[in-house]
């Protein structure tokens, strides 16, 4: 395939171009309730062509190889149209030429596990919630996504990389006849099938929570001091801060760009945040991004001060900063855009028990229900939580969404735990879905957070 892609680009002269061909094979087993409603294992494929001409960048995605000439014409026309307009001139930061083929080492290759075994494992986990009388429904999916990517550019880079993502994730729904509660459960990763075995604990624990939530009180809206557990603090890091360390989100927004200047104090002195997709074994791992740039760890915040941001080749040049391999596409249907890889708050020294003592009165909020940001403000949901009184965890609460202002909240982080945990099932929907978007954190304490409630 690399040779075929090279022959496509050999027709081009005096311009930068890259082309990515991908075969994405998704194997899915879906349980809705106690029944299977889908099994599929199908390969799909497609091409992504990018052309940088007259300092204008254009991208065309196409499915069929015969459309290459048409795609090239479209890209050329678009680049010309851009050059004639008041466009933002585009240049790419220089990077090393890479020739590499990378196949990850897996702890049990899912392609070697039979579909029957996958069905049985999923059936086994799907049964667990039904041991509780209040469980009325489950939705669980086994998903295995294998992306085989072939990348070539006119500078001479030739890269093949395989990404394997497996997970079992879904929801447990409980009801007492009056209200319905839903809890998410999930396991998975990027290093093989083994991580899905012997994980009954996750499904037992989440079943208990779905059951307990039926007796929990809706939270009373107001402003609280809170402790976020690792998963929720990870989503907070991703939503509230992470997106604004993505250069493309701030580059054309002058006021945000002024606030996100390197060297600016953005958070409490105890706060350190890094994005590091390079550690093997965790969900967010990759070796090269979809511009062929090696992934690098980026210290984003050090002692509360902004130290770096995530870049594509284009934004690295525009910001006069170094490229760091964070330009990633969901698949062959999309041009790459700047994404977080594995973002997390670095652990400090506090034990969980100490954090609860420091909190005294407030809320302990757990596990994410998704989040969103608008620049200065963010909102995200917690699956469940507890009222903390006099340093003791008391009754359970539900229907919790929290909201806050980015700079105020980063400054209001009062204490950080020592118990870093990265998520196994991530995801980020910035225009495209990135199933390997990984986040994490130790427990953290934040003062003065708005909690929505009826």
């Amino acid at each position: 395939m690399i040779e075929r892609l090279k022959s496509f680009l050999s027709k081009l002269d005096g311009v930068y171009a890259d082309i990515r061909y991908e075969i994405k094979t998704e194997t899915k087993v879906v349980f809705s309730g106690k029944e299977i409603t889908e099994i599929s294992s199908c390969p799909t494929d497609g091409f992504v062509l990018r052309l940088l001409k007259n300092r204008s960048l254009s991208c065309v995605t196409f499915t069929e190889e015969k459309d290459f000439e048409r795609a090239l014409k479209m890209a050329t026309k678009n680049a010309q149209a851009m050059a004639k307009n008041n466009r933002i001139p585009v240049d790419f930061a220089r990077v090393k030429i890479v020739k590499d083929s990378f196949i990850p080492e897996l702890n049990e290759d899912p392609e070697r596990v039979s579909i029957e075994e996958k069905i049985e494992l999923l059936r086994h986990y799907n049964k667990i919630p039904y041991e509780s009388k209040t469980t009325i429904h489950t939705d669980f999916t086994y998903s295995e996504v294998i992306r085989e990517k072939f990348f070539v550019n006119t500078e001479g880079s030739e890269i093949r990389e395989k990404l394997v993502t497996t997970r079992i994730a879904g929801t447990i729904t409980s009801s007492d006849g009056k209200i319905i509660q839903t809890v998410r459960a999930g396991i998975g990763g990027s290093n093989g099938f083994a991580i899905l075995r012997n994980r009954e604990d996750e499904f037992v624990r989440k079943t208990e929570i779905a059951n307990e939530l039926l007796k929990a009180k809706p939270v009373t809206g107001g402003v609280y001091n809170v402790i976020l557990n690792q998963n929720l603090a990870g989503v907070f890091t991703h939503e509230a801060f992470g997106h604004f360390s993505e250069a493309d989100l701030i580059e054309n927004n002058p006021s945000m760009r002024r606030r996100m200047k390197i060297g600016a104090r953005l958070g409490a002195e105890i706060l350190n945040i890094i994005d590091d997709p390079t550690t093997p074994g965790q969900l967010g791992f990759y070796k090269y991004d979809d511009e062929g740039v090696p992934a690098q760890p980026v210290q984003l915040l050090k002692n509360g001060v902004l130290m770096g941001r995530l870049h594509s080749r284009r934004t690295a040049r525009a910001f006069r900063e170094l490229p760091n391999g964070h330009c990633v596409a969901e698949d062959y249907r999309y041009p790459p855009i700047i994404r977080m890889g594995t973002i997390y708050i670095q652990p400090a020294d506090k034990k969980f028990e100490e954090l609860i003592q420091i909190l005294g009165d407030g809320l302990y909020l757990c596990d994410s229900m998704g989040g969103q940001t608008s620049g200065e403000n963010f909102t995200f949901g917690a699956q469940f939580g507890y009222i903390v009184k006099n340093g003791k965890i008391t009754e359970m609460i539900r229907d919790i969404n929290i909201s806050g202002n980015l700079s105020e909240t980063l400054n209001n982080i009062g204490a950080i735990g020592n118990d870093l945990k990265l998520c196994e099932v991530g995801g980020c929907g910035k225009g495209q879905m990135n199933i390997r978007s990984c986040y994490g954190s130790p427990h953290i304490l934040i003062k003065g957070v708005i909690v929505g409630g009826r």
Partner: protein
């Protein structure tokens, strides 16, 4: 395609082949400069088969090896998904006006010029950052099955979203325009939009409490998402909806009439048949506050012993490869019947309340129970009928089955939206909890 179906016909009881092809261009014009011109040409195939009342499914993007697609579908029969439904055989469907051939003459230059014109106009009115994005192109769908069905769908779409962004944020107010081909945005409408933005510019703080809340059309998806979940035929079948036994009961204010109308071709992307080839029809969901219908595809209609309502669409909340999606019950064309007050009259009737300009976190929370708890961004404060200012750090929370009982009034005009709805009016609700930081 015929070859695959005739091959399949011998191996299974019946088969259905779905093929789509789309060609779209995107223009992004940010802060006065052209930032992106991208194109996509995508296509794919999905195959569904029925054998001994068992359903199989496979898909591919490139039909290089049809046998692999066939084998994939046959393999998937292992799942033993039982159903009694039959692929539809009727070919008689209404003709809709979904395609404007002028779309073929539209190019990125024409659209870029329009973005520039809008930007220049708004620049004279606003000092905000203005972002304009437009998308245009065509969709072709072909569905064939071995029961003699062959249907083609061709549609064209031009959609433009203009955003005025508030300083120090990435949030703003949005103006949405859509059509079946390129046409210029009416500057009078943009002028109204600019005036609205200007009124909402100063920032103040707000005291928490229960108050009137006006949802602008593009923000109603928060509530409609939850109603869509509550009336989805699959959730009714699995009994995970608060509406399971509530048909013909009053669930909302009598001022609310909410329906799905795929046949309304006044707006782009009308549908005469769904992604299974079932004829579409206007389906009343809530009429004068009374729950009238749930919506179904073939699979869940069979489970419930009813007929498909023509709502089997290949849709996914987060977008996905179309070929890889199986049809599921989906509301793609929601309309809300307009009321009799203008937007200005609605605002004038607010003694103390907020306007929801945009929301954060609509996807989080206990959706199936109807609960919502969202950040409001931008949040516009109204007192004694006048827009006073914008407030920061604000959330609203509630449950749609309580909140949608308290409708003050519905706007007398429909506006195109692109999430969980086709065209909606603004709606003013009373007594919603608004939380704001001190």
């Amino acid at each position: 395609m015929e070859k695959i179906l005739s091959k399949m016909g011998k191996k299974v009881d019946s088969a259905e082949l779905y093929h789509y092809r789309t060609a779209f261009q995107v223009v992004k014009y940010e802060n006065g400069k052209l930032n992106e011109l991208d194109s996509s040409i995508q296509s794919g195939y999905s195959l569904r088969i029925l054998k001994n009342k068992t359903l199989g499914f496979a898909y591919t993007k490139n039909l290089i090896n049809p046998d692999k697609l066939i084998d994939g579908a046959l393999d998937s029969l292992k799942a033993n998904i039982k159903t009694n439904f039959k692929f539809p055989s009727q070919n008689k469907i209404p003709r809709l006006n979904t395609y404007n051939p002028e779309i073929e003459q539209v190019n990125s230059l024409i659209v870029t010029n329009e973005c520039r014109r809008i930007n220049e106009f708004l620049r004279t009115k606003l000092d905000s950052k203005i972002d304009i994005s437009a998308e245009f192109g065509t969709i072709n769908v072909n569905i064939q099955n071995t029961r003699g069905l062959e249907l083609n769908y061709r549609a064209s779409l031009y959609i433009l979203v203009c955003s005025a962004i508030f300083p120090n944020t990435a949030s703003g107010l949005h103006y949405i325009f859509s059509n079946k081909s390129f046409s210029k945005v009416n500057l009078k409408m943009l002028n109204k939009f600019a005036e609205f933005y200007q009124m909402a510019k100063p920032i103040k703080k707000l005291k928490s409490g229960r108050m009137k809340v006006l949802f602008l059309p593009a923000t109603l998806y928060v509530l409609l998402w939850r109603l869509g979940s509550g009336t989805n035929g699959s959730n009714i079948y699995y009994k995970k909806s608060p509406l399971v036994n509530k048909l013909n009961e009053k669930i909302f204010s009598e001022k609310l009439t909410i329906y799905d109308d795929p046949l309304n071709d006044e707006y782009p992307l009308a549908r005469a048949f769904d992604d299974e080839g079932t004829s579409c029809r206007k389906l009343m969901i809530v009429e004068n506050g009374i729950l009238k219908n749930f919506y179904y595809d073939l699979f869940y209609a069979d489970k419930m012993g009813v007929s498909s309502t023509g709502n089997g669409f290949k849709s996914a909340t987060w977008g996905s490869e179309i070929a890889a999606l199986k049809p599921t019950p989906s509301l793609e064309n929601i309309f809300i019947k307009p009321g009799n007050k203008s937007l200005n009259e609605l605002i004038s009737s607010i003694d103390r309340g907020i306007i929801v300009g945009g929301v954060l976190g609509a996807h989080s929370g206990n959706i199936i129970n109807g609960d919502f708890s969202v950040g409001i961004e931008p949040c516009i404060y109204v007192e004694k009928g006048e827009i006073l200012c914008r407030v920061k750090n604000t959330m609203i929370a509630g449950n749609i089955y309580e909140v949608m009982k308290n409708v003050v009034d519905v706007e007398n005009e429909l506006h195109p939206v692109f999430m969980f709805g086709k065209a909606l009016p603004a709606i003013l609700f009373d007594d919603i909890m608004v939380i704001s930081s001190k």
